[in-house]
């Protein structure tokens, strides 16, 4: 079922069919990676040299500490580059209009909506995604606190919420419940798990301070 690469055996063939591998396969062949298959494929037309695109251009993104080269059209957003070109599907594409927070990633230490950042504009930034926050196979304290506090139901908002909580706690290590409510205002959960998320944020804050109530 999973289309994720097996970390122990990267050469292991993928399952015979998944929606993701199908879309990717088509994308590779046409150069339409990440731009949506129904859109007209733009071809690189050299202009006066001051502009890049509108066809695919090579870019480098630094994701979870690793520089990654890829080719995208300038119109491709960071979320589409992550999900469609890099198979990094933790960040979720939900509203796609900078409103719901499911696509939240941390860029240069700040939470942003990756649906509303152009991938080409994210070059030179330090991009942290949900895939990059666990250390040595150990869940990040925020993820642990989400489990402990039942802070998810369907789970679709969870990766964005975890990143929003992490970004918030990195900046506000001693939050009150009121701070948490305001600080997480950029993320929506349609299952209504807010109470659990807020409790998780407070628990994670304590844990990240080293378990002290300092």
């Amino acid at each position: 079922m999973s289309s994720k690469k097996d970390p122990d055996n990267p050469k292991k063939p993928r399952p015979a069919f998944s929606r993701r591998s199908f879309i990717q396969g088509v994308g590779v062949g046409t150069g339409a990676l990440g731009s949506g298959l129904l859109e007209t494929v733009a071809h690189t037309a050299p202009t006066d040299g001051k502009f890049a695109g509108p066809g695919v251009v090579p870019i480098t993104l630094r994701i979870n500490g690793k520089p990654i080269n890829l080719s995208v059209e300038p119109r491709v957003t960071l979320i589409d580059a992550l999900r469609n070109s890099l198979d990094s599907t933790g960040a979720k594409k939900v509203c796609d209009r900078a409103t719901c927070g499911a696509c939240t990633v941390i860029m240069d230490g700040k939470v942003v909506y990756s649906c509303t950042v152009l991938a080409i504009d994210a070059q030179g930034k330090d991009i942290q995604t949900i895939e990059g926050i666990s250390q040595n196979g150990k869940l990040h304290p925020v993820s642990v606190a989400f489990v402990n506090n039942d802070a998810q139901q369907c789970g679709y908002c969870t990766p964005g919420f975890v990143m929003a909580v992490k970004g918030f706690l990195d900046k506000h290590p001693h939050p009150t419940m009121d701070d948490v409510e305001k600080g997480l205002g950029g993320n929506l959960c349609r299952c209504g798990t807010y109470v659990g998320v807020r409790k998780a944020a407070l628990e994670a804050a304590k844990e990240m301070r080293g378990g002290r109530n300092a």
């Binding site: 890049a52 695109g53 509108p54 119109r75 939470v111 950042v117 080409i120 504009d121 950029g186």
Partner: protein, 326 residues
Amino acid sequence: MQAFEYASPTTLQEALGLLGKSWGDTDVLAGGTDLISLMKEYLATPKRLVNIKGIKELGGIQNSKTGLRIGSTATVEELLENADVRKTFPAFTDAARGISSPQIRNMGTVGGDLCQRPRCWYYRQGFGLLATQDGKSLVPEGENKYHAILGNSGPAYFVSASSFGPALVALNAKVRLVSSSGHRDVPAARFFVTPQNEKARETALLPNEILTEIMVPQEGTKNATYEVRQKEALDWPLAAASVALKMKGSTVSSARIVLGHVAPTPWVAEKAQEALAGKAVTPETAEEVAKAAVADATPLSQNVYKVQLARVAVKRALLEAMRARA
């Protein structure tokens, strides 16, 4: 999103040289929190996009004896966190706090807040800026609960979406617009305009110009912004008011009272300003002045409630301005 060519110049001159003569040629990208959504909806279909975030001189916030300078690409979060601004121009801090998603505050810029397009749902659904069909606006007889209650004799019924606009007007700020042939410093009150036809825009910015900075004079006012909103986060205010009061002892020698989100531009409430001059701000005078601020309101079929909200916004902004801030 329609494909486009992309440039990320590092100097203003270079960026200006890349702009086109008409809308639709080249759009300027800063935070992108509005533009990228507009492009996804094909409401903006620029052939070229010029990212101005790499131009250092357009960033930063500096407060000096002569005035406050806000670079157009300073983010909303930078403005919110600036201690000088909080001390001298809390009207901006209040407005920045109202932009209530951390992600939007981290990405969105102050210049972008001024240049964002209206949130009118007719406009956002592709009915055009003035929402006209067969020569007639759809708004007066349509779904108008979030539309204008002042300055709404047509053809525009949308409300200015800018959170900082009312504070800029109240604080006598100027906006610098630069083209390759020079610059002009436009008073905030004249930067926002009510479009008279579908081709016109809601700001004075021309397609070959870049908004580079905002200049706010030090006038020693007591100032504040108060917003009334439906939701605490991820929403624009239903009504807002920014006030800037010049004091003589405990009385107001002159007042600037500007309403937001109730008209196609930030709306100067002249009657309210007159009503407050020479008086001390008490709960009673605030109430009286607030009534004067909405005396001329002409609500549409579904937005009578906004008159009350605007009145409350003025009253609370006045009382907030007088409160000592931490």
